[in-house]
């Protein structure tokens, strides 16, 4: 099946997706990788309010290449290796009603378990940064830019971002466990 999903997500929308489905994402997503995940968890544990919200969101494991002329523009922005976010993700999933992750290379069985009933993992072709940038319409903002360009959190407006393949679904299905 082929779907276009929009943000903010709903649980129903997430549950209908099954491994092997193709998905295009429209709306907003934000990037987060190692340093942003580590800081987000630290802040959540300290009950500090985050400048972005994981709930119903699409989180993109990506450190984009951006350029600033008058405003920020995404030059190349494919996914990074998701496995590095394995230790942080279950704790983040505990706090949301639903979520989608876009990344590459898959995630651990512990994450697959934590995603049940609420989250999907969408694989976008690793290294396809030039192609991905074409469906990123605008940089809406950046926070935690003290972490440097790759590790900062970039809020992006996307239109038909994809094709993404549902590689882990909310029912325990995974294309990586074969």
């Amino acid at each position: 099946m082929e779907y276009e999903i929009r943000t903010p997500l709903s649980v129903e929308e997430v549950l209908k997706l099954r491994v092997g489905d193709l998905v295009y994402v429209t709306g907003e997503l934000f990037t987060a990788r190692d340093e942003a995940h580590a800081r987000a968890l630290k802040w959540l544990e300290e009950n500090k309010e985050l400048p972005f919200n994981f709930d119903k969101a699409v989180v993109y494991h990506c450190g984009p290449l951006v350029k600033k002329n008058d405003e920020w523009k995404v030059v190349s922005a494919g996914p990074t290796t998701s496995a590095r976010m394995n230790p942080f993700t279950p704790k983040i999933l505990e706090r949301v009603s639903c979520m989608a992750i876009i990344g590459k290379g898959g995630m651990s069985n512990e994450v697959v378990e934590a995603m049940k009933g609420k989250a999907v993992y969408l694989a976008f072709t690793g290294g396809a940064g030039a192609l991905a940038a074409q469906s990123i319409k605008r940089v809406k903002g950046v926070v935690w830019d003290d972490l440097g360009m790759p590790e900062a959190v970039w809020l992006l407006e996307v239109e038909k971002f994809g094709p993404c393949i549902v590689a882990i679904d909310a029912h325990g299905g995974s294309l990586y466990n074969r």
Binding site: G63, V75, G78, T81, A123, G126, G127, G129, M149, Y176
Partner: protein, 288 residues
């Protein structure tokens, strides 16, 4: 070492090579490496796309080929991970350089970071502070070699972290020559979808601890369409794993296995496996 004629282009004939020539050449060679995948690499991906039967694998390879075309057309880096700048520099022994060559290459990296642009990737290993211009302690990595002649050849090989992170080195026993293949295949299996397969596998056998790693990296500079029987055999074993493009299944896990050897101590057998993503980026420039 085999170098591709299509990736070789010469700068205008300059009488006295100076600092700025090397800076400009560095920017140009990085731009070419990031925006145009070498023809042999593209051919290897196209061939795999024709052979692949798994539908998701075919679609993934198709996306890769579309991305390569988009990067070339739009003149933007094909991958946002513009890597760590690695250079192999051959200095003709009849050349006289009246400037600091490494300083010029560093300056070229700084300018390329702004102009192409490149993602600033270099951070302090402990504080993780980003230098913001892709330079730092021992970065860019510049490998110098003196050769015959009066030319300066700069080969740029930007190396991404996804594939570098799953590379491995093992000091094997001298009696384990027949286990080299298993070590390579296990390394690829453990890497799974992380290094952006289909991958290129550089292998260094022999030398010393560090020497084997260097051989493995240099092997990745070779034409990927030219493999010997030993390399083909390992490639076949890797592709029987079924990891597939991006780890989503299929028979295309690796596109080439390239091996370089060096003599080693009679008590040693160092084996290094340097994994490279499908974006096997490299370009070279020759200055006189």
């Amino acid at each position: 070492m085999h170098f591709l004629p299509e990736s070789l282009y010469r700068m205008g004939h300059t009488k006295n090579m100076d600092f700025d020539d090397v800076v400009n050449a560095t920017v140009n060679v990085l731009r070419k490496a990031h925006t145009e995948l070498p023809e042999d690499v593209v051919t290897a991906i196209r061939n795999a796309h024709e052979r692949e039967e798994n539908e998701i694998a075919r679609r993934t390879l198709e996306t890769i080929l579309k991305n390569v075309e988009a990067a070339k057309k739009l003149k933007v880096p094909m991958c946002q991970d513009t890597g760590i700048p690695v250079f192999f520099v051959e200095i003709g022994r009849d050349l006289r350089l009246e400037f600091d060559l490494c300083k010029a290459i560093r300056e070229g990296v700084r300018r390329a970071t702004l102009e192409i642009p490149l993602r600033p990737n270099a951070v302090h290993p402990i504080t993780r502070e980003n230098s913001r211009d892709n330079t730092g302690v021992h970065i860019p990595q510049i490998n110098l070699e003196i050769v015959e002649g009066d030319e300066l050849k700069i080969t740029a090989m930007p190396k991404g972290a996804g594939s570098e992170n799953v590379s491995a080195l093992k000091m094997m026993l001298p009696t384990e020559v027949n286990k080299i293949r298993d070590f390579v295949v296990e390394t690829v299996l453990r890497a799974g979808g992380k290094p952006c397969p289909p991958i290129f596998v550089g292998i260094g056998i022999g030398g010393t601890f560090d020497g084997a790693a260097k051989l493995a990296k240099k092997a990745l500079l070779r034409n990927v369409l030219e493999m010997n029987e030993f390399e083909f055999e390992i490639l076949k074993a890797i592709n029987d794993l079924g990891v597939g493009p991006m780890g989503l299944g299929g028979k295309t896990t690796a596109l080439a296995v390239l091996c370089e050897i060096g003599h080693c101590h009679t008590a040693s057998l160092p084996v290094a496996v340097n994994i490279q993503c499908w974006a096997n980026r490299r370009a070279e420039v020759v200055l006189r």
